[in-house]
Point group: C3
């Protein structure tokens, strides 16, 4: 499929393969079947997210070609997974923060930011190339924050002002929000709900926070690699449990999986990019803790701008730990030579 021309009848299956792999690559699962299962999870949880994901995939491929990216990167969806995240999270989360409806104007603005995302993605990877670590989903975080803050400015919202409460679709809202709206929750930690949070974290990666979606996402991970899935779940448990100690009652955000997805991704990144040694396992544990600590610390800053922390904590933690493996002589953490599972 890699060698077929884009100007042949193969274009449609090529594009579909690329988009599905891109969906999987958000969580290091480079496999079209895993991607298809996750796309199905989006349709189950929030169909609008799924449509935004497909739009992002198409624009990602088009601008991957315009910007002359290598065919292998386009095929694996590596040029479009940041755009896919922009698409998913913007429709899932932004309306409640900006007061926008998801109408034709919103889709046009999203398309514009998906184009910007393509440029930011390639530019940022180029800037980071001397460090020999990939930009992961930093381009998504930058583009999504730019889009959210621009929309808020255009809607006349400054500081922490929220729009009139006509929207209730947000899954991945910032913690203060959810705590405010659900004050009737118990003050005691409900550990069963915490465990539910460790499951929901998988869905939150894609902005769909329902149980059935999250189980589908986990199954997609399992199909790609059981080892990766174990690391994902370990990270999710560490992050979610740590979240209980790092925030105050009510623990709504913890129960929704919002404290788990950054640690989940960080833990997975360690086993995906590194040779799975005991050192890599230790790095996954430390990375999961670091991610959740970064989330706790940076939420002080993000809340002041009414921007969700997105996957910024995952990126900070993963980049710092992965950089260790780039030190020249005999590093404790070894970079995986070829990524095959």
């Amino acid at each position: 499929l890699l060698n077929k021309s884009w100007f042949s009848p193969w274009a449609l299956p090529k594009a579909l393969n690329s988009i599905l792999r891109a969906i999987g690559n958000v969580a290091f699962s480079n496999n079209p079947i895993s991607g298809a299962m996750i796309l199905a999870a989006m349709f189950v949880g929030n169909p609008t997210v799924a449509w935004a994901c497909l739009l992002a995939g198409v624009i990602g491929i088009v601008f991957g070609k315009v910007l002359k990216q290598p065919e292998a990167l386009i095929n694996d969806g590596l040029v479009s997974f940041n755009g896919i995240l922009v698409g998913c999270i913007s429709v899932a989360v932004f309306p409640s923060l900006t007061g926008h409806d998801i109408d034709a104007k919103f889709w046009a603005i999203l398309a514009l930011f998906l184009v910007i995302s393509s440029y930011v993605d390639i530019g940022l990877n180029a800037i980071m190339s001397p460090c020999r670590i990939p930009a992961l989903s930093v381009p998504f975080n930058i583009t999504a924050a730019l889009m959210l803050l621009s929309l808020r400015g255009g809607a006349g919202l400054t500081g922490t002002h929220l729009p009139d409460p006509q929207h209730d679709t947000a899954d991945l809202t910032i913690d203060t929000n959810t705590t405010e709206t659900m004050q009737q929750e118990e003050e005691d930690v409900q550990w069963l709900k915490v465990m539910e949070g460790t499951l929901l974290a998988a869905g939150q990666v894609y902005g769909v926070g329902t149980i059935d979606s999250s189980i589908l996402v986990y199954l997609a991970f399992l199909l790609f690699s059981p080892l990766l899935t174990i690391f994902f779940y370990m990270g999710s448990v560490i992050g979610t449990v740590a979240g209980v100690f790092l925030c105050e009652a009510p623990y709504t955000a913890v129960y929704q999986g919002l404290w788990g997805y950054n640690s989940l991704l960080t833990s997975g990144a360690m086993v995906y990019f590194l040779v799975p040694t005991p050192s890599a396992l230790l790095a996954a544990v430390v990375g999961s803790v670091l991610a959740v600590v970064v989330q706790a610390a940076s939420s002080h800053i993000f809340v002041a701008m009414t921007v969700p922390v997105l996957s910024y904590p995952f990126n900070v933690a993963s980049l710092l730990l992965l950089a260790i493996s780039t030190t020249t002589e005999n590093p404790a953490l070894l970079w995986t030579p070829i990524k095959t599972f």
Copy 2:
């Protein structure tokens, strides 16, 4: 002129040539005649700005020599254009934000920060050298923000407190400011004034926001390169018109050209640094949009510190896009081998 000694009668013309080229190089117009026209524009618009510019040029040359910069860089004014921006913008904008008069003490403080600017400039370019992209005017943005925030602290101003309104000289004030002081403006967009804003953007690059200055600046650009000027104006139009959608009425800042100069510079940077292909034109359009979006998003943060966005949006947008051209094999954007127009 390049090969004459600094300890000969040639020192004065050498210095003048270097300063005028530095003035031009703020907007990629490396030509002493263009520089002279822009200096004239400053004298027309705000003579204090012109004097600060000359002081900055002299200090830039002296510390370029102290820090052993290559003679070619000194000759082209590349070591001093960041200082020139510090000089121009600090006298044009800071008094209304710090409550300082432009007296002997202010000039002494400015001279100190111009020295600091020389060190920051060379240091930052060294730090960025592994990425093979220049620091553009990031050193100006850092030094100017340091100067403004230090002055505010010394004057006992914290948060968003403004000094007593005894100063009205600011051209490049932050938007909230200007909106507050001109509430009598109409709520409707006056497109003629928007078009005036696309002109004024050129003057705002240097902190002089009058029509006659801006026309002089555009003529200086035109003399250097018509192609560059077309890109500048295209960027200015994109930024200014986008500004209408990204902020709320009254649109005073848009009419003053404050939403245009970052996109103007970004668009120009694309055609200056890149081979002028259709891809570069597309990059200029995307870059202009990105710059104005960064401005809209980051103004939420800058306003909280009472710091103007300066040319930070231009730098973010340009560095991300220019980095694309540093990717090794067959990039979509090609770096211009030698810069001659």
Copy 3:
């Protein structure tokens, strides 16, 4: 000592040597006797700080080995000095900002963050390696800020809220704080107290702000290198005196040495890393001014998060200036080939 095995009776003296050198290396004094004197200064000023320092030293060595750092770096304490700073400053400063007692739970949390510090340290140095400048104490600044903000979040403190005033142990509190609590101070500058501040700055590097500790620290510096000590004191004087002009009365923070330690370290870094030429002396003066200006400017931002500026100003100033020496052809500042005094 370098060549002895860690699994022999030599382990204890090896560890002690490494920890004492690490203590000295916080201020570029790589010498176990200097380290021992500074450790004594901690016991004199605040014994809890000394114990935290020793805990950090042990964890630093263990994770230096786990992460396979070169034996020479472990021996010189270069892998643990950032952790030592985390230990010292967290016990000296954090309780008054988070409301925590220094009990078993606090020590466990500290141990966790010391482990994180080891990973952040090596990762950050790897990321910065293309720039050929060391990460200095940036890892300490990141880890300490993460620890403080996480603790505050866990204690339910947001924005600038402070815990109930049951703690009075903080030495290195942020300026607004100290100004609030000591309003009875005179408005006039007391220059004798300013001079006292230039001494106390040496102790503040380690979070112990008493006169006897500071004198012991200066003696430790003197034993290692008189030239370095002169630069340290020059920086301290520049920073402390500049602090008088950069903040408002009462000048409690200036008198406590809190405006001096960043300039002290920056000035010392210039003579430690660079060949001591007149250019390096000038760089030390400019660096001291830059450090104090960065402190004045960034305190606007740090205060809003109730995070002390830590040694962030020192790192910004030193990294920018040291980068100048990495420019290839005939730089004005020469990197010291081998560091021997």
